[in-house]
């Protein structure tokens, strides 16, 4: 290995391998021309778009449905991803703690169910019912909203703060610094961010990076 001039480092996980679509052994669709998804997304301070997406209860949900909210945790998450699942309870806890303080969780599944059957609307309904989600779990059916936000993976948190009637992005990133063990977390990034907003203070750390499952979209490189 060492005498090879070109070194290729592939970073992945068994978990990620395990959740690749079952039919990916065929190479038929590899030949199709790929429409590159343009790299877009919000920076801190940008105004976030509102949306109207279908919730697991069949109703359409928009940020405008929450006139009393001070802001939102818009969290891109899904059924299948081990990182998302590891954070599921913490996402539920965030809503329980911060919805009463004015910052409810809005969960959005951005994946194409044609690529990941576990992320189908029906499977989302099952999971939300089983865990009794206290927050909406929306499906980004047209896969139009996640690129606008700039979500690239699950889970991916966007904390919005309502300022002069606009939803301003104030934090982007991870929930905390330990996906694997909620009892061994040193820094609760998302909670610290919203606590700063509630206290009227600057958010000390407004962007963080963490490992997550890439969003499954036919338009992306496969």
């Amino acid at each position: 290995m060492k005498n090879k001039i070109l070194t290729l480092i592939l970073i992945s996980s068994v978990a990620a391998l395990a959740c690749t679509p079952k039919n990916n052994t065929t190479t038929g669709d590899d030949e199709k021309p790929k429409q590159e998804a343009t790299k877009t997304g919000y920076a801190i301070g940008d105004e976030a778009t509102d949306f109207s997406m279908k919730n697991v209860d069949g109703k359409m949900v928009s940020l405008a449905n929450y006139p009393d909210a001070k802001g939102f945790f818009v969290i891109f998450t899904c059924n299948h991803c081990p990182y998302a699942l590891a954070y599921e309870q913490r996402i539920m806890d965030l809503d329980k703690k911060y919805a009463p303080l004015g910052y409810p969780v809005i969960a959005i599944s951005p994946n194409d169910p044609a690529l990941v059957p576990e992320d189908s609307y029906e499977e989302m309904q099952k999971l939300a019912a089983e865990k009794a989600y206290s927050f909406p779990y929306l499906i980004d059916e047209k896969q139009e909203i996640y690129p606008q936000y700039g979500a690239t993976k699950t889970p991916h948190v966007f904390l919005l703060n309502k300022e002069n009637g606009k939803n301003i992005v104030r934090y982007i990133g991870a929930i905390d610094d330990n996906y694997s063990d909620a009892n061994d977390v040193d820094v609760k990034y998302a909670e610290n961010a919203v606590d700063s907003l509630l206290a009227g203070e600057e958010i000390a750390l407004n962007t963080t990076k963490a490992i997550g499952c890439s969003i499954k979209d036919k338009r992306n490189k496969k």
């Binding site: 480092i9 990620a16 490189k221």
Partner: protein, 85 residues
Amino acid sequence: MILVSLDKKELLHTSVQQVITKKNITTDVYLLDDIKRMNDWIPAVNEEWSGAIPATAFYKHGKQLAFNEGKLTKQELETLIKQHL
């Protein structure tokens, strides 16, 4: 080629080993378990990397020449390698 698994270290001798055997992987495989400093080492690998996996980095003489977030087809991988040979 070096493969880096980001699985939990508890899975090294079970799932990870199983995949290595099943897929007949002969390259070096490392398991990176530095969970609590992701916010440090993700940007250190590449500033543009959001943390989504899989991800692939190309190095020549210790210098990173290319970085790809997301899946690559075999064809895309070969093209990228040829570009940088």
